[in-house]
Amino acid sequence: MGLSHPQNLQRTVTAGSIPACVGSLTNLLDDVNVVQANLTFLATIATDPANVIPIVDAGGVQALILSLYRNPESDVIQEAGKRVVAMIVSPDAVIDEVKELQEALVELKASKDEATAERVEMACIGLVAFASCNVDIIVEEGGITALIDTLKWVSQQRRVPKQQEIMDSCFRALEQLSKDPKYVHVSCP
């Protein structure tokens, strides 16, 4: 009996595997093998809807977003990560991320401080992860407009914190949104 057996799966969850897995993912984002193993595990346990809230509560979404962003070249990580996104990220979370980008950009234009720049970057990184399954929501909520506004404004500034990082994340989000549909293997719910 492997991990796919429902009883074994439930045993691991009861034993506290979710916080352990999310913690390991958060602390070892650049270790491809660790990220790969953790995302594959999360993809398996997220098939049970009862486990979705514990994953989200343990900080799984943030860890998932960062692990997808840091490992763009690994197909296994991208595939498993997108499967988890499809199962645990709600449309409301995507809408919130778009709004967060819009608000943070307005604030950054006014303040140009490091903390707000980080908020803008994190919102863009969030959209990179969510883009695999939520293109229509992102388009409808003005996510593309927000990304292009961010790119236009940030690239024209002389002194803005995290300029390169924000531009990179905008490019990555637009890339994910524009990806050829034949390469999208995840069936969205």
Binding site: V139, I144, K152, Q164, L177
Partner: protein, 242 residues
């Protein structure tokens, strides 16, 4: 028998579902995403951002990857050509010729653009071929002995594929490429990577588009003098007597 028919039915169901998903995705991407990206002048913004920061290699690379993904949407080709995406890519290829990541992303964008005739014409008209020929001819000093070719792939294959695609578009393009020393560049690339099957195949495809029969014979002699490669000779013989 029941099991067999059940598995056949489930296979048909999953096949129809995959087709449905692909169809929905294809329509959604073409119909919903591009109009918004176009309306917001997305291509212009991306190109401008790359042009404003040409020395930041990572940003240039991610920018080109983004353009490469956009170039897979066929409706975007006109905007890409008009907004200077080709010039942006060729300039960056010249400035970052040793950065394999940048070159690979740039070529990926040109490959996407070359899928349609409009993009193929744009690449030839706007100096894309000249940049590719220059890059192919200078490849000997840049690519030999590099241990990161495995990470990014040999960019020579992509360059040859772009030239082939552009040559297929029209006779005018073909003559332009020949005048820009495309044939020489192609042969130089093949000589540089005699053991790389992908380069050899891409080179043969490229030469078959560019050469007329008399030149094919000369090219075979030229290559045979240097290498005596059976594969190449056979490939050219196949081209002459298919």
């Amino acid at each position: 028998m029941i099991l067999l028919s059940f598995s056949l039915l489930s296979f048909i169901h999953s096949f129809i579902h995959e087709l449905y998903v692909l169809f929905m995705f294809a329509n959604r991407y073409q119909d919903e995403l591009w109009p918004v990206l176009d309306m917001e002048q997305g291509v212009q913004a991306i190109v401008a951002a790359i042009n404003l920061h040409p020395k930041q290699k990572r940003t240039v690379r991610t920018g080109f990857r983004c353009l490469a993904a956009v170039s897979r949407i066929h409706a975007s080709h006109e905007a890409l050509v008009e907004n200077g995406a080709i010039e942006c890519v060729t300039n960056a290829m010249g400035k970052n010729a040793k950065e394999l990541g940048v070159v690979a992303s740039a070529i990926s964008m040109l490959q996407g653009l070359g899928q349609r005739n409009l993009g193929g014409e744009g690449i030839v008209e706007r100096g894309g071929i000249k940049a590719l020929v220059k890059n192919l001819k200078g490849a000997s000093t840049r690519l030999q002995g590099r241990d990161d070719i495995g990470e990014w792939g040999n960019p020579t294959v992509g360059m040859l594929n772009v030239i082939t695609r552009c040559a297929k578009v029209s006779a005018f393009n073909k003559s332009k490429i020949r005048n820009a020393q495309g044939v020489d560049a192609c042969i130089a690339a093949m000589l540089l990577f005699p053991n790389d099957d992908d380069v050899q195949r891409a080179g043969v495809r490229c030469l078959s588009e560019l050469l007329i029969d008399r030149e094919v014979v000369q090219a075979v002699r030229h290559l045979s003098t240097y290498m005596g490669m059976l594969f190449l000779r056979l490939s050219f013989l196949y081209l002459l007597f298919p």
